[in-house]
């Protein structure tokens, strides 16, 4: 069974713009609750929060310091 994608909202980044995952607030494999702040990302020196779209087990796909672009999938929540 595939998990729920954790995606960077497409309105946070312009087409050619890059951002970075500054940190994950939970380790890979941790259980998270829906709506919890699970990661921080940074775009042009502005820091933003990523919330868990679902509850379940966190699977990190883009680790801290990883570069992200518009609409990037940075992780999954497994049921």
């Amino acid at each position: 069974m595939s998990g729920t994608s954790i995606e960077i909202s497409s309105d946070l980044l312009a087409d050619e713009q890059e951002g970075v995952v500054t940190m994950w607030l939970y380790n890979d494999g941790a259980h998270v609750t829906k709506g919890a702040v699970i990661a921080e990302i940074m775009v042009e020196k502005a820091q933003m929060e990523v919330l868990a779209p679902e509850q379940g087990v966190l699977r990190i796909l883009v680790p801290a310091e990883g570069v992200i672009c518009k609409g990037a999938k940075i992780g999954e929540i497994d049921p």
Binding site: W24, H31, M42, Q47
Partner: protein
Amino acid sequence: MNTSAERILTPARAGREAVIWEMQRNPNVFFIGEDVVHMGGVFNTATGLAKEFPGRVIDTPISEEGFVGIAAGAAIAGMRPIVELAFADFMLVCLNPLANYAAKTHYMSGGQFKVPLVMMVGAGGGYNNGAEQSQCLYALPAHFPGLKVVVPSNAYDTKGIMHAAIRDDNPVLVMYHKATMGVGWLGPAIPTTLSQVPEEDYVVPLGTASILRQGTDITLVGLGWTVHQCLIAADALADNGISAEVIDLRSLVPLDKATLIESVGRTGRLLVVDEDYLSYGVTGEVICCCVEHDIRMFKSPPKRIAYPDVPPPASRSLEGRCMPSHDKIVAMAHDMVHS
């Protein structure tokens, strides 16, 4: 499953959590400073606060003497203000309300007035910001009787210290090193600044140092950013057969002399590492409190690594030479143990 135990926070986020908890429960707590409403503070100490507490987060003009004076007066009148001062260097333009009104009113009124003021102060260099935005100046407020001065170095301590500071009836300066806050634009978070942080409130008592690593050959004492340099150095020293104990000072006033003396009593060697200036500063005070207790416990003369007595240079290469570093700690500790 307990999810909160697995949650890892930066010091900036952990400190904010304590501020939010206290503001939710005590209507007398308010937050004031430059760029705190829209920007959330230069080092993210106030991110999201203005939205959650409309009217209780106040942006000020660039007038430190004015808004620190407002906060000191409000505290004397019974409020519990939290002032954000992004750069320790700016203490120099608000010393009068800080050192005269906040620090002395309890004494000068014969105890009739309390001053429950918290001031968060960003400190430290490493970003080539030049001599007016890079100093630590930890020793400066610590010199004035009446102010408590604490320097958390990791997320767990930052939250517990903020709770303790806001609940304290005395003026407390919470000095945080910029590099330890976990602010993205200053680079990747230092791993040892991140902690698992409980969601519920808790207190780290002001005036307590913390032994972060136990050792038998030498005691390394750091505060703020230098704690993390000491931890890196302790790893390197272990590879060379030297067992280093690492103490995070956490608090300058009150100073936890008992923990320092007990540690040096066991190791017989003391190396104090500070990013504030060398002369008339924290390193001298820490060494002196141990020497005064019993000079016979030293196997070798106590040593210190601190900022040389020059204003921080803006040049990257020159600033790097001035900063304390794990390499300097390793070299000096090695000399001390093998002297």
